[in-house]
Amino acid sequence: MSRISAAVLVSGIIVFGVIIAFELAVAPRTADPLNHAPLTLRDTGAVNAVSAILFDYRALDTLGEATVILMTATVVAFLTPRAKASMLAVRLSSIVLYGVVLLLPFITILGIAVMAHGHVSPGGGFTGGVIVATSTVFYAVVYSVGGQQSYVIAPAANKLIENTAMTAFIGVGLLGLGLAGSFLANAQTGIPLGTPGELLSAGTIPMLNLISGVKVGVGLGIIVMSLFLE
């Protein structure tokens, strides 16, 4: 990169930062933003309003996002040839190799907890899925040093799990269509919403959280592993 383009880039970044700082300092703030939490609690039984919007009001958009990841994983896995994984340029110390063993169970459990508590606390299916995908990628990358290949789940099983989760998501949607007459309906189907704040509450939202978490986790795992094995 030439010195001129670096200067242009740096000055652009500085101007951008000054504009953001100015906006934050000077721009007027809305005095009383509309609080959606009581409305979402009444409609869906979910304490986390963001999760209620993602998996109830706008669940069809979430299905679209899941489709994007499904298509990307399919195309990437289709286009990249399968070769042997290796990190040739890397030499890992024993601290990394043994530290990963100690760390991975906790990362995976954190991901599953974030998925399962999506309707009561921040997080949700997508975030938990990415945490699980990060832990599997971490394992595969660290243990593929020196030529031997390591998986958590075999690639063929990965694709089967992803397709099953996608079908299950659409199946929950069709359940709403059959029982309440609208695709991905939640409270309208008559499903018990439970006590707000408990793990088993909010109708179909925890189901969709878990399904999309499995789907995103496996899908991102396929994408990263395909590019890693390429």
Partner: protein, 83 residues
């Protein structure tokens, strides 16, 4: 609250300049990861914990892993710089 946000935004600018101008590719990758992490701290300060979690996981975790794998695939010498 607002001063913390302004301070973090200025920190973002400093990290971005470092990522662009650093001679070492690995240092630039780590700087981009730190950039994502500071963005997620800004989201927490602005009371958006859901977005902050996603930003931390995707930006600081998965994207950094992608960059590290890409750096390993291209077999770039670490000391090759911006020139």
């Amino acid at each position: 609250m607002i001063y913390a946000t302004i301070g973090l935004v200025i920190l973002l600018v400093v990290i971005a300049i470092y990522a662009v101008l650093s001679k070492s590719v690995v240092a630039a990758i780590v700087a981009v990861g730190v950039f994502s992490f500071v963005v997620s701290v800004i989201f927490v300060v602005l009371q958006a914990p859901d977005v902050a979690m996603t930003q931390a996981v995707v930006g600081a975790g998965l994207t950094t892993a992608f960059f590290v794998i890409a750096l390993d695939k291209t077999n770039t010498d670490d000391t090759e710089g911006a020139e």
